[in-house]
Symmetry: C2
Subunit: 206 residues, 2 copies
DNA sequence: CGCGACGTTGATTTGCCTCAACGATTGTGG
DNA sequence: CCACAATCGTTGAGGCAAATCAACGTCGCG
């Protein structure tokens, strides 16, 4: 298990449907460009709790979730987990700083469910930028959107109470709220599981 | 004052030296591409406290600071200011969501000092992407870096006390710490000015 | 000069954490 | 299939970080 499976053209394409649709949202590829893109991809399967990346390793791939759910988190000095991001189907993830600089990662990425991902190696991503410059555009738009989403989150953290952040999370990601264990949501919101429980208790009554 | 000054080639180029160096850090332009880029720029001067953008307006420009200092902030329901970003010389800023979607901005941008900026209109930025695709790469790298910087900030906010955040800010932006009034730094760190004052008092003694 | 912007300090309150104990559920090996 | 251990969520008592409110000193500047 956890083998890297290198794909070439004889592999059935449908595996990548979700990814190709994701890309098609922002750029249009010629058939040969699509083939080239697919030739750079690898599929990896993770069982629940398996690590895709551990702090200290160098992050080698940009990753797209085909099925399942990942989380990026960080351990502080007290060994408490702080969650940066959940990534379900149709989301991208990596430790971007580690990927770009090829230095040891500070983040962990692990699977909250059995998960299937498509990955592209750093060097292949650079090749992709050179040979299909449209991907510069694609990732420019991706990072723009990610930047905007993170700005919102910073505002939430700076300006709101735990209760307000929980309500906003619920509003924005109703599916995630049902799918994830409560203490994971707490680690994302930056509060303790106990406190989240109390918030929920209060909301249920009030 | 606050006039938009449209520049053409007869303008002296040195005004844009800082901006051209900023661009040259990531991409290399041909002379005619540089000329085209410059032809799309406008210079604007702001006196201290002048607004570059107010919430409710549509953000029309991506902005590069040539001299001075801007801040992006947001007003919460209690009309408290929360600062998203300071932008001194050599930094880019805008309300990106408003710029991209052409919807009313939620952020304010104003000048903390007399400030000179170079701006590029949204439509001209799109033209630039089409005619000089290298700029897709440039802004892809820009937003990547901005994304990474913001991730760090989220971790800081979620996992650290006010004192730790202040010390980290001091470490990371020693020049800003001397340049900005204390209550602006407090609004950036997400604490009250009073509390920052107490932190500093304690640090001075301890 | 006098006013507004800025910073300091103290008293009190509140949001959230820590620690601890306790059900409920899940899952796993024997 | 049961037994036992994890895992997960709840609840309560006490404590600390940071907000709030208020008063006061100091500038710089119109």
């Amino acid at each position: 298990m956890l083998n890297d499976i290198f794909l070439s053209k004889q592999n059935p394409v449908p595996v990548f449907d979700l990814l190709l649709k994701n890309v098609a949202r922002h750029i249009h590829l010629q058939p040969d460009e699509t083939d080239f893109f697919i030739s750079l991809l690898q599929v990896r399967r993770l069982v629940k709790k398996a690590f895709l990346l551990q702090a200290g390793e160098v992050c080698r791939y940009e990753t797209f979730v085909l099925e399942g759910c990942l989380r990026n988190y960080y351990l502080d000095d007290n060994a408490d987990e702080h969650i940066l991001q959940f990534s379900v189907e149709d989301w991208w993830t990596s430790d971007l700083y580690s990927l770009l600089t090829q230095t040891p990662a500070s983040q962990f990425i692990d699977a909250l469910e059995d998960t299937t991902v498509a990955q592209i190696e750093r060097d292949n991503l650079e090749r992709l930028y050179l040979e299909v410059p449209q991907f510069e555009r694609f990732f420019r738009i991706m990072f723009q959107n990610a930047f905007i989403a993170q700005q919102r989150r910073i505002l939430q953290n700076i300006g709101s109470t735990g209760e307000e952040r929980y309500l906003a999370f619920r509003e924005k990601y109703p599916a995630l709220e049902r799918r994830l264990p409560q203490h994971q949501i707490a680690a994302y919101l930056g509060i303790t599981p106990e406190f989240l429980s109390k918030i929920r208790g209060k909301l249920a009554k009030g």
